[in-house]
C-alpha cells in the first residue's frame, strides 16, 4: 500500500495523495458519487509513465483498491429506495471492512497462485506416457446401450438456456432531463442580451446538455433566428441574432 499511498492526485474534487483520498472517501468527507475514478486511474497511469517502470506488487494493489471503489460507487448508484438505509448509510468502518475483504481475497489467491506455480515447478521433468492403447486391445469395444441416455437432460438444458439473466434496474440513476424547449428558451434569453459564444451558452454543463443545446441552436438557425460562425475546426462558435444587436450589449454581457 505504501507506493500507492503516496501517489499524488490532482482531481476536480480533490488534490493530494491517494491514501488521503481513500480516507476521506471512507469518512464520507468526499462523496464517492462525485469522484471521477477514471481520473484517478489516469493519474496513476501518468505516474507509471513518468517512472518508466511497472512495480507489479503496487500495480496489483492499486487495481484491487480502484476496483473496490468502483464497486462501492456502483452500489451507491444502484441502491434501491428500500435499500436506502443500507448501503447509503454505510459507516466508514463498514466501508473499510469491505475494502479490507477485497484486499484479503486478492492477497489470498495471489499467494495460492504462487503456491500452485511452485507445485508445478516441483513436478518439472515428470512426464507421462501419451500413447493410445494398441488397436488389438480395443477391438472388442462395446456399443453403448440403447436407451441408456435420458432425453429429459436435453429439455432441462434448453430450459436453462432460455432463461434470461436478471436485468439490472437503472431507474435509480438520475437521468439528467434536458429538453430542447428549455435550451431554446435559454438561447433566446442570451440572444436578447446580444451576441455570445457557444461555450458561454453551455458553461460547465454535462455532455447531454451540450448536445441538446446544439440541437436547439440548429433549430433556431433553421427558423432563421440566429447566424453562427466558426473560424476554424474546434474553434469558438460565435452566435448572434440575425437582426444584429447593437455592440454595446455585447460588452455588457462580456462584462
Amino acid at each position: 500500500m505504501t507506493a500507492v499511498a503516496t501517489l499524488d492526485l490532482d482531481l476536480d474534487v480533490f488534490s493530494g495523495p491517494f491514501d488521503l483520498l481513500l480516507t476521506l472517501v471512507l469518512r464520507e468527507e468526499i462523496d464517492l458519487l462525485e469522484l471521477a475514478l477514471a481520473d484517478v486511474v489516469l493519474s496513476y497511469l501518468d505516474h507509471l509513465e513518468s517512472r518508466g517502470e511497472l512495480d507489479l506488487e503496487t500495480a496489483t494493489e492499486f487495481i484491487v483498491l480502484i476496483a473496490a471503489l468502483l464497486e462501492l460507487k456502483s452500489k451507491l448508484m444502484l441502491a434501491s429506495e428500500e435499500d436506502d438505509a443500507g448501503l447509503l448509510e454505510m459507516e466508514p468502518e463498514e466501508a473499510a471492512q469491505e475494502l479490507l475483504e477485497r484486499m484479503l481475497d486478492a492477497r489470498r489467491y495471489r499467494s495460492a497462485a504462487g503456491y500452485l506455480r511452485e507445485l508445478l515447478s516441483s513436478e518439472e521433468g515428470v512426464r507421462f506416457r501419451h500413447v493410445p492403447p494398441p488397436a488389438h486391445l480395443r477391438r472388442t469395444e462395446l456399443a453403448p446401450q440403447e436407451g441408456s441416455e435420458n432425453p429429459e437432460v436435453l429439455g432441462v438444458a434448453i430450459g436453462r438456456l432460455l432463461s434470461m439473466p436478471p436485468t439490472i434496474s437503472l431507474r435509480h440513476i438520475g437521468t439528467p432531463r434536458v429538453t430542447v424547449a428549455e435550451r431554446l428558451a435559454h438561447l433566446r434569453g442570451l440572444l436578447r442580451r446580444g451576441a455570445f459564444s457557444f461555450d458561454e451558452a453551455v458553461g460547465e454543463a454535462d455532455r447531454m446538455t451540450v448536445a441538446v443545446t446544439l440541437f436547439a441552436l440548429l433549430e433556431l438557425y433553421k427558423r432563421g433566428e440566429v447566424d453562427w460562425r466558426q473560424q476554424e475546426s474546434f474553434g469558438e462558435i460565435a452566435i448572434q441574432a440575425t437582426a444584429a444587436q447593437p455592440s454595446a450589449t455585447v460588452a455588457a454581457v462580456a462584462g
Binding site: 512426464r127 506416457r129 501419451h130 500413447v131 492403447p133 486391445l137 480395443r138 477391438r139 472388442t140 469395444e141 462395446l142 456399443a143 453403448p144 446401450q145 440403447e146 436407451g147 441408456s148 441416455e149 435420458n150 432425453p151 429429459e152 437432460v153 436435453l154 429439455g155 432441462v156 438444458a157 434448453i158 430450459g159 436453462r160 438456456l161 432460455l162 432463461s163 434470461m164 439473466p165 436478471p166 439490472i168
Partner: protein, 209 residues
C-alpha cells in the same frame, strides 16, 4: 565418433543412470527407438547403450513382468506381456459410461431442438465456445454434418445413433421444452428466444454475492 563421445564428460554417466534414462525414453516413446537414437538423446556411446539395454532386457525378461523389452526391426520398445491381454481388453472394452459433460449436454440439446444449426449459432446461444463439445459429439457419432448454412458455415443435426441412445423413435418424441421453459408465455420461436437469451448472457450477468 565413438571416441568423441567418450571424450565428453557427460559420457561418464554411470551405467545405472544410463539404464534408467533409456528406460524412461522407451516408456515415453510411441515408436521403437534405435540404439543410436537412444545414444544421441542420452549423450552416451553406443556400446554403453547396448550394455544398458542388455541390463534392461534381463530386468524385463519375458514372463517375469507385465512389461517386456522387445527388439523389433526399427529398434527397441516396451510392450505388455501377452499374458496380461485379457485384463487389458476388459479395461479398454468397458461399455462407454462416459456421461455427457455439461457443455456437451447443452450443445447436443441445441442441435436436437434447432437442427440444422451451425457452430456460430451454438456459440452465440451458449455465450462461450462450443468447439470442443461439438468435436466430441461428432466423434461419438451423436451428431453429424447437415450441409451448410446460407452463410457457408457447416450445420449439424442429430444422428440415428442419437435417437437409439436416447430411446426415441423420432425427433417428434423429444420432450416438450414447455416443461422447463422459464417464460412459457413467450410466443417467439425457440431459436430466436435462445439467441436472444444467449446474447443477453454474453454481457455476463451480475456477480453473485
Amino acid at each position: 565418433m565413438e571416441t568423441q563421445v567418450q571424450a565428453d564428460p557427460e559420457a561418464a554417466i554411470d551405467a545405472d543412470a544410463l539404464a534408467s534414462t533409456i528406460e524412461a525414453l522407451l516408456f515415453l516413446s510411441p515408436d521403437p527407438l534405435s540404439a543410436s537414437e537412444l545414444a544421441e538423446a542420452a549423450q552416451a556411446g553406443e556400446p554403453e547403450v547396448q550394455a544398458a539395454l542388455g541390463a534392461l532386457a534381463s530386468r524385463y525378461v519375458p514372463g517375469a513382468r507385465g512389461i517386456v523389452l522387445r527388439e523389433l526391426a526399427g529398434g527397441y520398445t516396451f510392450a505388455t506381456d501377452p499374458a496380461t491381454e485379457d485384463a487389458a481388453r476388459r479395461l479398454f472394452s468397458r461399455p462407454r459410461t462416459a456421461t455427457l459433460t455439461p457443455a456437451q449436454a447443452e450443445t447436443l440439446a441445441i442441435v436436437a431442438y434447432l437442427q440444422p444449426v451451425s457452430r456460430p449459432e451454438i456459440t452465440r446461444i451458449r455465450g462461450v465456445s462450443a468447439d470442443s463439445a461439438t468435436t466430441t459429439l461428432l466423434e461419438r457419432g451423436l451428431i453429424e454434418e447437415a450441409g451448410r448454412s446460407q452463410f457457408g458455415a457447416v450445420t449439424y443435426r442429430t444422428s440415428t445413433l442419437f435417437l437409439k441412445l436416447f430411446g426415441l423413435r423420432s425427433l417428434q418424441e423429444l420432450p416438450d421444452v414447455a416443461r422447463w421453459d422459464p417464460t412459457p408465455e413467450e410466443q417467439a420461436e425457440l431459436r430466436d428466444r435462445l439467441l436472444r437469451a444467449g446474447e443477453a448472457r454474453a454481457g455476463d450477468g451480475p456477480t453473485p454475492e
